[in-house]
Symmetry: C2
Subunit: 261 residues, 2 copies
């Protein structure tokens, strides 16, 4: 089943304690689609940015972005609204037909600047994928369990909270799923880890074409697996040469991390 | 099998955003032994402090502490050296006979003030239980995986890193075990969580009287279970009325958190 992602494609310049790269492929849609494409077909609708630092991209390139979803993209079964202006996310939601599952991302900027529009988005998606700090800010609640309950009351049936090296939590009415992160020796470049997670997750869900409890948990692990590869090198580099065998081996290693026997 | 703990017993006054208590039972040996006693017999050797705030206790009451282990305590099979001066930990180590497993705790203060003595302790224990920040400081290495390897090279065969709401990691030559923490609505009082973890862990190990890989993993979960109860109320209060049924129910809930099916 195919996945549609709406986000950005940009040129990034990245510097970390391990070195740097200039003008490499970046943007939320790039990471997401490279990750998801390892599982299924991906359709991209993206604003193409320039070499502004990624953190400013949404302020610059999205100003005049009016995402028109091509006719034959509108019946995508799985949709990911990357971290863009909630008004644009709503605009996309009006164009897609009957997706089986819509997931979205957001960030502190939109939580603060467009709370009303973001709330409207949350009422119309099945799944929200955000990080720890964003979840606490969105719910205005420091305890993550209470924050999750508040967010699920707003709208989405499922909330995934990414916690970097501490793993990820998935909340739904089925309960809580606690996924480890992969114990890495070094994080060369954390850029794109979140969008890669989303891509791996939604790619796995679309590939299974079922989102029962067990399938979603498996997909959270696949998202974590893909993100763990992305941060091993700069930009999207690690994603572009990734082999299926590597993915499956790390998936197995993930399961082993929290198994008792 | 019996467990010997060497640490402190004190009166604590605690204040948290949820309220406060005055002059309640505290000290590392209190939390440890209440937790461990839910699994096995516990022998305590402790300096008895007064109502100084716990964080200063080691500076005050331990100054003249010369732990003499009673003759019939010296053949304890399982020993826990709570967070005291490494010189005293070494002094205890010389008195115990042939324990099957010795675990110890320490803190930033000793890592900075007594690095040589602490290193000597680490060469003579099987297991170190410390928190995230302490592990990084002890190894002088920010990445926890590398820090763990450095610490295991110093001496202990097993390292447990406590990460509060993010769970716990156990490192050994068998690999890494990733334990979740229990998703609590509120942490009323975090005092004693670490010593409770150690008590639940070592109590479970002593009760099983085996420390194979599966047993140690189970014990990490029991340590986490006990710690999750302790922080639900002030001081040792929650530990004193804890029922075995509650412990087993939460143990099962822990396992469910990270299970795929």
């Amino acid at each position: 089943m195919s996945v549609l992602v709406v986000g950005s494609v940009a040129l990034d310049s990245i510097e970390t304690p391990f070195g740097g790269v200039q003008d490499v492929l970046g943007g939320s849609a790039s990471y997401f689609s490279l990750a998801a494409s390892l599982f299924t077909d991906v359709k991209i609708v993206a604003v193409v940015g320039d070499d502004f630092p990624e953190e400013y991209t949404y302020l610059n390139v999205f100003e005049n972005f009016d995402p028109v979803i091509p006719e034959d993209y509108r019946d995508a079964e799985y949709v990911f609204l990357a971290n863009i202006n909630p008004e644009l996310q709503l605009h996309v939601l009006k164009q897609v037909k009957k997706p089986k599952l819509v997931a979205c991302d957001t960030m502190n900027y939109w939580i603060e600047k467009k709370p009303k529009e973001l709330r409207e988005v949350l009422k119309n998606v099945n799944l929200l994928i955000i990080n720890d700090a964003e979840a606490r800010e969105l719910a205005q609640e420091p305890m993550i369990i209470k924050a999750a309950r508040t967010i699920l009351e707003i709208g989405p049936e499922i909330l995934i909270v990414k916690r970097g090296e501490y793993g990820a939590l998935m909340f739904s009415k089925e309960g809580i799923f606690w996924a480890p992160s992969y114990p890495l020796e070094a994080v060369v470049d954390p850029t794109g880890a979140g969008d890669t997670f989303a891509g791996g997750f939604l790619g796995a869900v679309a590939n299974d074409d079922t989102y029962g409890s067990a399938g979603l948990k498996k997909a959270v692990i696949y998202g974590s697996v893909l993100a763990s590869f992305t941060v091993e090198d700069f930009g999207v580099k690690r994603l572009t040469d990734l082999q299926h065998g590597e993915i499956e081996a790390r998936f197995t290693a993930f399961l082993k991390l929290s198994r008792l026997d």
